[in-house]
Symmetry: C2
Subunit: 144 residues, 2 copies
């Protein structure tokens, strides 16, 4: 199997497959006489593993750790869970951060006329013009 085939079989672009090899995430592939990389089912399986890990948001470094654990038949599942748990915490932190932005933005957008007049609470907020926008007298118990 050439790289193109391995690519479509795994969902990882040829570019990325070469890159993963370069950074040592996957072993350098054997080459056929024409210097083309040669892949087998085994390698495609590994690539799919990587793809799936990336889809779940794991960094390449975390993916490498998981890959090693996967291939280590005497691993302790605790080690795997630890990586996953750390990533979960990371995602939660990032989601919370974005939700904070979202909340503020939605409020600002809600307060903005969005018409042909220049007056705009969004810009006022960005400019730090005193009050962080009049108020939100809804049932939001937000203070920050």
């Amino acid at each position: 199997m050439n790289i193109g085939e391995a690519s479509s079989a795994s969902g990882v672009s040829a570019k990325m497959i070469r890159y993963y090899e370069e950074i040592g995430l996957i072993r350098p592939m054997g080459r056929s006489g024409n210097n083309y990389r040669v892949y087998g089912e085994e390698e495609v399986h590994i690539l799919r593993f990587i793809k799936r890990a990336r889809n779940l948001g794991f960094s390449l470094e975390e993916t490498e750790t998981l890959l090693k654990l996967w291939q280590d038949k005497s691993r302790e599942s605790a080690a795997v869970k630890e990586v996953a748990t750390a990533h979960i915490g990371d995602l939660e932190r990032r989601i919370a951060e974005m939700q904070g932005m979202l909340k503020t933005l939605k409020h600002l957008a809600h307060c903005c006329g969005g018409d042909n007049r220049p007056n705009c609470p969004i810009l006022d907020d960005l400019a730090g013009d005193g009050t962080p926008v009049p108020a939100a007298r809804k049932k939001m118990r937000q203070t920050a």
Copy 2:
């Protein structure tokens, strides 16, 4: 005011201030005799605007647009709202994506013993071993 002072007054690092100047986000600053950049209240205000926009997750490109709108006294607030709304959509998409990952990961982590045995549903899932993990017989009506 030198760059260090402008930096602490605005919360934007000196490094970034120079960078913003380089990419044309802010006008090149005047220099004093010693070739040091000189800042005034006006500039600090602009830097704070940028800082705030960045804190709300706007890209530098979006920030530039907002900055121009801010300085354009004859803007239409609709233009500002449009930028904000697009960004809101963006955040919502990204949050949804991460929440998808989170859901899957939490489920997998929940199913993983996290002990000293090698058996691990997290790795099984990444490896794509058939069933995407036994099941979740909870009240989740998730199918994807």
